[in-house]
Amino acid sequence: MRYPDVVVVGAGVIGAACAEALSAAGLRVTVLDRGPLGAGTSAAGEGNVLVSDKEPGPELDLALASLGRWPDLLAELGADVEWDPKGGLVVATGDTALTAFAEAQRAAGVDARPITPAEAFDLEPHLTRAVVAAVHYPQDAQLQPVLVTKALLAAVRRRGGTLRPGVRALGVRLANGAVAAVRTDDGDVPCGAVVIACGPWSGEVSTAFGAPITVLPRRGVILVTAPLPPGTVRHKVYDADYVGAVASGDADLQVSTVVESTAGGTVLIGSSRERVGFDASLRVEVPRALARRAVGLFPVLADVQVLRAYGGFRPYAPDHLPVIGPDPRCPGLWHATGHEGAGIGLAAATGRLLAELVTGVEPHVDARPFRVDRPGVCA
């Protein structure tokens, strides 16, 4: 049996993207997950590939790089993952700070087009007539997170990599102070390097590996409507306070409206943000607030049936930036996590960046803002 060059712990979209990029670089990769493949945070989101919600800065740079990478990567993978460059529409019914926000984004390379309410109603005929300002973001896209995770992992396996769902990583064995093997509940896996890509569970796993980082879970709940006729909701439509909620550190429930349809015809209604640890119980005020605000944006939804609700935990670092890079305390140990609700969209560039750092290639985006050794992250 040949040992892998790199073990990736975590078979979500971030771990899968890292494993794909590492294997594309010629490294032999084994992916472990304590559960099924792509069944954690990646199975509990919406599939956002957004630039519209990001202010100028490192995360926007990563998002633009990822946006540029996804079409090529999907072509290489040759898989249908419901990629839909449908564009985003941000609307405001009151305060119109969003046009100044869009101005700053344009300077940073985002295609952000302030439009009139009438133009917004042309894009979205069912939108509330209370809209007073809108910005169209043609670059925003959507994909199906579980399908893309599986497609990335399938590429790893085609290149000779190994997928081991149901295998729990317990820790690391060192030789001369550097990673020599990953300990699992199914024996040791000798390797030259290990990437911890466990999303909101990266804190607990990195602690078990002796190199703790601070990554916290934030719960989000999404409502799913009955399938609606095509064209009922055409873009990713959200209200302008979504941006504030993403960047906020408040513990209380925050709700901002995001409404979008899927390839199957259902409409997804988000987004809530709660800091409740790993408590997965459903508080009824959350779906109630989501539904009320979605009806405010799209009055036609008032009598539409909700089929179900689902929720998940998004990983965030105290400074709300992803954590991508080597652990300074343990040679051979790497991290890739902390993407909060943007991990699907950011996965393509994250995988590429991590592979560049591992193989010593010049990074295609500035890696320093995402380094592990930064205040609040590296305990």
Binding site: A226, P227, P229, G265, V300, D303, V304, Q305, L307
Partner: protein, 81 residues
């Protein structure tokens, strides 16, 4: 139902009433227009949908009709109203 009056015993669901009357399908699929009726019968599969008083996507297997309800077959995905 679809303009036809029904006497439904108290407590019986719309799906049960339709089946008792010999109907096995009352919805068409969104993409192919294929006929659908009761599949799971316990409210899980959302296959037995009808439009009740203008509201689509009502599960016939779960809804006990009230006197005067206007029920009709659902054609694919529909919006309320």
């Amino acid at each position: 139902m679809d303009g036809e009056p029904f006497d439904v015993p108290e407590g019986r669901t719309i799906a049960a009433a339709l089946i008792a009357a010999g109907r096995v399908s009352w919805r068409t699929t969104r993409a192919g227009g294929r006929p659908r009726g009761v599949f799971c019968g316990i409210g899980v599969c959302f296959d037995c949908l009808v439009v009740v008083n203008g509201v689509p996507d009502v599960r016939a297997c779960q809804r006990v009709p009230a006197d005067g309800d206007v029920v009709r077959s659902q054609r694919g995905a529909e919006l309320p109203g």
